[in-house]
Point group: C2
C-alpha cells in the first residue's frame, strides 16, 4: 500500500475557472485511485461549482485563496504583490510539504517565476526549462526548450539535454533516451554559434545518449526521444506545428468528414507541461484547457511524484555542477 | 516587340543532370515564347540528351564548360579551383552581359558564394539572402532568410525585409507588401535580443509596410506577404513544414486515396529560390529538381529580368546605405 500522491490544483487558472478545473479533477479521481487533490482558490466559488456535480468528493480538499493572478500581473511581481493568490498559496503548500505537486493553467510566466522563487532551482541548473511532447510518425518526442528561455548559451542547452533525458526516462518510459540537437545541418560543427558550440559540449557528456544533430525535416520522423533547442526556435516551431495540425484537421473535417487518420496530430490529447529544473513538481497548462487537459496535467503531476524524477534530476544535474570549472 | 530574356542554365546541377535540365528547358520554351536559353556544360553530354527529344531546339544554345562542381567542393574555393565548371562559366556569361540571368540546381553554398563573387553585393546589402515561398491558407508568402544566414544582426533583418518587400512587389505582384517579423510574442520588444532590437529598426523604416511581430501559429493564416527571420529558425521551420506536408500527403494517399484537398501543401509546384541582394539574377533549385521545378525556376528568372527587380532593389537598398550612420 503506497501513500496517495497529494496534488494542489490552482482552481482559478483557466479562462473559464473554476469550471474546467472542477470537471478535470472529477475525471482524474475516477482514473487515479491513489491521488488526493487540494483545490486552491475562493472556497465559495469552488464549492458552488462542485454543487453542480453533487458536492465535494471525498478525496478533495479546498484550500482558501481569495486572490487571483491575471495576465496583467507582471510575472516577477506576483510573489510580492499577490501573496494570497491561488498560485502563490498553492505553491507554498508544496514548499511546506502539505502537497507533493502543483498544477495550474494560469499565466505561464507567473507560474514559472513563482515556482522558481518557491521551489528553487536544482543545483547545476542555471535556467529551468519547459518541454512539450509532440506527435511524430512513431513515438511522441519531447522538444525543449519550448519558449521559456531565449538567447540560451551552449551550457544551457546541455542542461536542457540532461533534464529532457531524465524526463524521457521517468515520465515517458524511454530507456537510454536518444537526445538530438536541432540544427540546420547534420555534420558536427554545423549551425549557428550556439549550436556549433553546444554540439561539442553535448558530445562530451557522460550519462547522455547524444545522437548528434537533427534537422527540421527529421523531427516528424520520430528518430529521437528528446530534441534540444533554444526557446526561440522551439516556440516558433511548436506554435507552427500546432497551427498546421489544426488547419489540416479542419480541412479534412470539411472535405473528408473524418479525422481519424490524423489522430497523431491531435493536440487535444496533450495535457500539462512540467517545469524542469526546479526542486519540486510544477505543471503548467494552457489557459484554454479543457477538463481532459486538466485531467492529463494531474496525471503528469502524479507520475512525476511517483517516479521521483525531481530527485533523479537533482542527482544528475549536481554532477554537472561539480564538473563545471 | 520586347527583346527576349536570355537565361543561362547550369546543365550539370541536379543529381540526374542533364536529364531534368534538358526536359525542363523544353517545357519552359513551350510556355515562354520570349526566352532564349543557354545550357552550360559539356557539349557532347548535353547534345546526347537533346537527341532523345529530337535534337537541340532553335532557341537553345550550348556553351561548353567541361568541369562540374560537386557537393564535395568547398563553396568558397569553387571560383578559384573550378574556373571551367558550368557554375562559374554560366555566372560569368551573366557578368559579361551575354545572358540576363542564371539558374542552377547545384550545391546551394557554391551557387551563393560564386554568385556573390561574380555578381557582387548591391550597395547597402551586407549579406545576400534567399527566401522561400510557402503556402498558407490564403496567398503564399515569402519567408526569408531561408537558411543562408545565421547569427544575423538586427540590421541584416532590416535588409532582408526590404529585399523581401521588393521581391513580393515585383515577383509576386503584391502592392505595399505586408512585412512581419517572426517572433515569440506579438507586442513590440518581445523576443530574443535579435528580434527585440530588429523590431525598433523595422518600425522606423521608410518605404516598408511593417505590420509588426507574428508568431509561429500565424504563418499558416497568410496574414502577411513577407516573413522576416534569422536563417537558423527559417531553415528549421521550412524543412519542418516540408516534411509535415509530405507526411500528410502520404497519409492521405493511403487512407483517403486523394490529395486534392491539400493542394495548398504540395511543394512540387515550387521552383527555384532567387538569391536576393546581388547585382544580377541567380536562381537556385533543389538538387533533386524535376523538369517541372527547372521550368518554374526558368520562369522565376524570366520574371526577375522583366520586372527589373534587381535595379529596383539597388535603388531602395542604396538609400539604406546612405541613411546608415
Amino acid at each position: 500500500m503506497t501513500a496517495p500522491v497529494r496534488i494542489a490544483l490552482d482552481a482559478m487558472g483557466t479562462d473559464h475557472a473554476p469550471r474546467p478545473e472542477v470537471a478535470g479533477v472529477l475525471e482524474a479521481l475516477l482514473e487515479l485511485p491513489d491521488i488526493e487533490v487540494t483545490l486552491v482558490g475562493p472556497r465559495d466559488v469552488i464549492e458552488a461549482e462542485f454543487a453542480h456535480h453533487g458536492g465535494v468528493p471525498g478525496r478533495v480538499t479546498i484550500h482558501e485563496a481569495a486572490d487571483r493572478v491575471t495576465a496583467a500581473d507582471p510575472p516577477a511581481s506576483v510573489i510580492r504583490r499577490k501573496p494570497d493568490s491561488s498560485l502563490v498559496v498553492g505553491l507554498n503548500l508544496q514548499r511546506e510539504g502539505t502537497v507533493d505537486a502543483f498544477v495550474s493553467a494560469g499565466s505561464t510566466g507567473a507560474i514559472m517565476a513563482t515556482s522558481l522563487f518557491t521551489l528553487k532551482r536544482l543545483p547545476g541548473v542555471d535556467r529551468p526549462t519547459v518541454g512539450t511532447i509532440i506527435p511524430t510518425v512513431r513515438e511522441p518526442c519531447l522538444l525543449l526548450d519550448a519558449g521559456a528561455n531565449v538567447d540560451s548559451k551552449p551550457q544551457h542547452l546541455v542542461q536542457f539535454a540532461h533534464l529532457g533525458s531524465i524526463y524521457a526516462q521517468d515520465m515517458m518510459g524511454r530507456t537510454q533516451p536518444r537526445v538530438a540537437l536541432l540544427n540546420i545541418g547534420e555534420e558536427p560543427g554545423k549551425g549557428d554559434e550556439l549550436t556549433a558550440a553546444a554540439y561539442g559540449l553535448l558530445a562530451d557528456q557522460a550519462g547522455l545518449n547524444f545522437i548528434g544533430n537533427i534537422e527540421g525535416r527529421d523531427i516528424i520522423g520520430g528518430i529521437c526521444d528528446v530534441v534540444v533547442c533554444d526557446g526561440f526556435v522551439g516556440n516558433v516551431l511548436l506554435k507552427f506545428y500546432e497551427s498546421v495540425a489544426s488547419f489540416i484537421v479542419e480541412l479534412l473535417r470539411k472535405t473528408v468528414g473524418s479525422v481519424t487518420a490524423l489522430r497523431v496530430l491531435d493536440y487535444a490529447e496533450i495535457g500539462g507541461a512540467q517545469l524542469l529544473g526546479v526542486g519540486g513538481v510544477s505543471v503548467i497548462c494552457h489557459g484554454e484547457s479543457t477538463p481532459k487537459a486538466i485531467r492529463n496535467a494531474i496525471k503528469v503531476a502524479e507520475r512525476a511524484v511517483r517516479s521521483h524524477m525531481v530527485e533523479h534530476s537533482a542527482v544528475e544535474l549536481s554532477k554537472l555542477s561539480e564538473e563545471a570549472p
